[in-house]
């Protein structure tokens, strides 16, 4: 006897619209609660399904803010955001978001397996508990990220790189089609970097849409199809010689 399916939020009520871009943002302004200045100003972005797009810029340029807006963590002040043709929040289960490590309370008494399993909740909703298929997905993903030996460890016992892999594992088990990754390679060890890079190329090959914030300009051309350059919350033209690829910014979004 399984509990009735009661999804979180408004998920499930809206079907994805075929032919729409995975992510479309038009003239988005956003600000953090309690602040008066805008963290994003008039930012536009068009990411067709299956593309890998880099959000490039220094700290405080608005990369994380843009990802948060798309993930539904920050309301927009003006403009419009559509995900597979629907409003933000209408298809949470197709979007998976990787936050920066600092947003999690690592002292909380749960183990790595549990942390990763919370990624499945998006498909469970209220009342339902993870089933065997969920556990299998979790176990496979943990193995893929080289965390099998640490699966029963409390999350605070992990090193920074291991924590980053655990969070990425959680993002992967959501099996989303649009992945929003906030600096997945920031301050990690070499082993972690290799594992994560491998996972990211697998995702690209699998046809997932990736939007990845990064401040690392090397290798952009090899790993991405397009890039959006941000500074002080605005889109800026790339400096000469920097990777451009497919145009994803204002020109194609509006």
């Amino acid at each position: 006897m399984r509990a009735p399916h009661l999804g979180y939020g408004r998920r499930g009520s809206v079907k994805p619209r075929p032919g729409e871009p995975a992510l479309l943002a038009r003239s988005v302004d956003a600000r953090y609660e309690g602040t008066s200045s805008l963290a994003l100003r008039d930012v536009s972005l068009n990411v067709p399904a299956g593309l890998r797009v880099a959000l490039v810029g220094p700290n405080g340029s608005g990369k994380s803010t843009l990802l948060k807006v798309v993930a539904g963590l920050l309301p927009i002040a003006s403009g419009e955001v559509r995900i597979f043709g629907n409003a933000v929040g209408a298809c949470h289960h197709r979007v998976a978001y990787l936050p920066q490590r600092g947003e999690v309370d690592w002292r909380f008494p749960i183990d790595v397996r549990k942390l990763v399993a919370t990624g499945r909740y998006t498909h469970l909703g209220w009342l339902r508990r993870p089933r065997r298929e969920d556990s299998e997905i979790v176990a496979e993903t943990i193995q893929k990220l080289g965390l099998s030996d640490l699966a029963e460890n409390q999350i605070g016992e992990l090193s920074g790189g291991q924590q980053q892999r655990a969070l990425l594992a959680r993002t992967l088990v959501q099996q989303g089609d649009l992945l929003l990754l906030d600096e997945p390679l920031n301050a990690v060890d070499a082993a972690t970097r290799d594992i994560i890079s491998e996972v990211l190329s697998d995702l690209g090959r699998a046809g997932k849409t990736l939007v990845i914030a990064t401040h690392d300009l090397t290798n952009l051309a090899a790993e991405f199809d397009g890039a959006l350059y941000l500074e002080n919350g605005r889109e800026i033209p790339p400096e000469p010689g920097n990777f451009v690829g497919v145009t994803v910014g204002r020109e194609v979004a509006n």
Binding site: G7, Y8, G9, R10, R11, E33, G34, A71, G72, L73, G89, H92, H93, V95, Y97, P99, E103, V104, D105, W106, F108, P109, I110, D111, K114, T118, Y121, T122, L124, W126, L127, R129, N153, Q154, G156, E157, L158, S159, G160, G161, R170, Q174, A187, D189
Partner: protein, 283 residues
């Protein structure tokens, strides 16, 4: 064994023990969330803010528990609302609500003829608990524990990573409101046992002690509940044999457990420090 059975010949002891166990387990399990989410101050505040509800219900001749539930839930929603708007810092909002409501309770008391009916609201009245009260406490405990069980995964997730929950469409605010309501129901049940002043000890101390002993949430809840049950029983027996106030004895038994847990933890850390570090931190 005679000394163990002797107090049980009194029905007020049997009723009191039952109430102490019911309240203890509920407070201890919920208390784990209170401690992990750093909500200790809210627990204390809620305990104080149900006072005007209790007094108003008494003055109007209504059921005291009913009045307390209404006041508790109202405050829970009020605190949630104030802190969600983010206009004043949460601890400030709680401080305002807490002292204001407590003062309102005292003011209402002062309009009554005397404090005589209220002293046991402040300090508990576990020996005077009636069977009807125990049934009500039992129902409250059952509701709280069942809801905790059903929504465990949401409570857990929003406790350590509210942003992830929100990204999945699970509103941390909704969960928080729910938790505050459960907290107020628990506080109301607990006030019968140890009173407004000491109830937050039952919420916090067993859970805090358990958090020193394990890093697994289910085990933490089990240890916390066990500490609460043992403290309730030991406290009441101490009250029987040593002639000391029952509510205070229960709370002090919890405090003793906490001190023991701290000592165990210190011993463990000492022995761990001598052993090789199992995990190198790269940062």
């Amino acid at each position: 064994m005679g000394w163990l059975l002797e107090p049980l010949q009194f029905s007020f002891m049997r009723t009191g023990l039952l109430a102490a166990v019911l309240v203890g387990v509920t407070c201890a399990v919920l208390g784990v969330y209170v401690v992990l989410r750093s909500m200790a101050f809210i627990g204390d505040a809620l305990a104080h803010t149900v006072l005007p509800g209790l007094v108003a219900a008494y003055l109007l001749g209504l059921n005291l528990l009913g009045g307390a539930v209404v006041a508790g839930v109202a405050t829970a929603l009020g605190i949630g609302w104030l802190s969600r708007r983010g206009t004043v810092r949460e601890d400030t909002a709680i401080g305002i609500a807490f002292t204001g409501m407590f003062a309102l309770g005292v003011l209402l008391m002062s309009t009554a003829d005397s404090f005589r009916d209220f002293s046991h609201m402040l300090f508990g009245n576990i020996l005077g608990i009636t069977r009807v009260d125990v049934v009500l406490i039992g129902v409250l405990a059952f509701v709280v524990l069942v809801v905790l069980f059903m929504f465990h995964k949401e409570l857990e997730l929003t406790s350590f990573d509210p942003a992830h929950a929100k990204a999945m469409g699970l509103s941390p605010d909704t969960v928080r409101y729910g938790l505050l309501i459960l907290l107020s129901l628990t506080v109301v049940a607990g006030i019968q046992a140890v009173g407004v002043v000491l109830i937050s000890a039952l919420l916090i101390t067993p859970a805090a002690a358990a958090s020193l002993l394990t890093r697994s949430l289910p085990r933490m809840m089990a240890i916390s509940a066990a500490i609460a049950v043992v403290s309730g029983i030991v406290g009441l027996y101490a009250s029987y044999y040593l002639d000391v106030a029952s509510g205070a004895a229960i709370v002090l038994a919890c405090t003793t457990c906490f001190i023991v847990a701290s000592a165990i933890r210190a011993l463990r850390q000492n022995s761990a420090a001598n052993a090789p570090e199992p995990l190198a931190d790269e940062r």
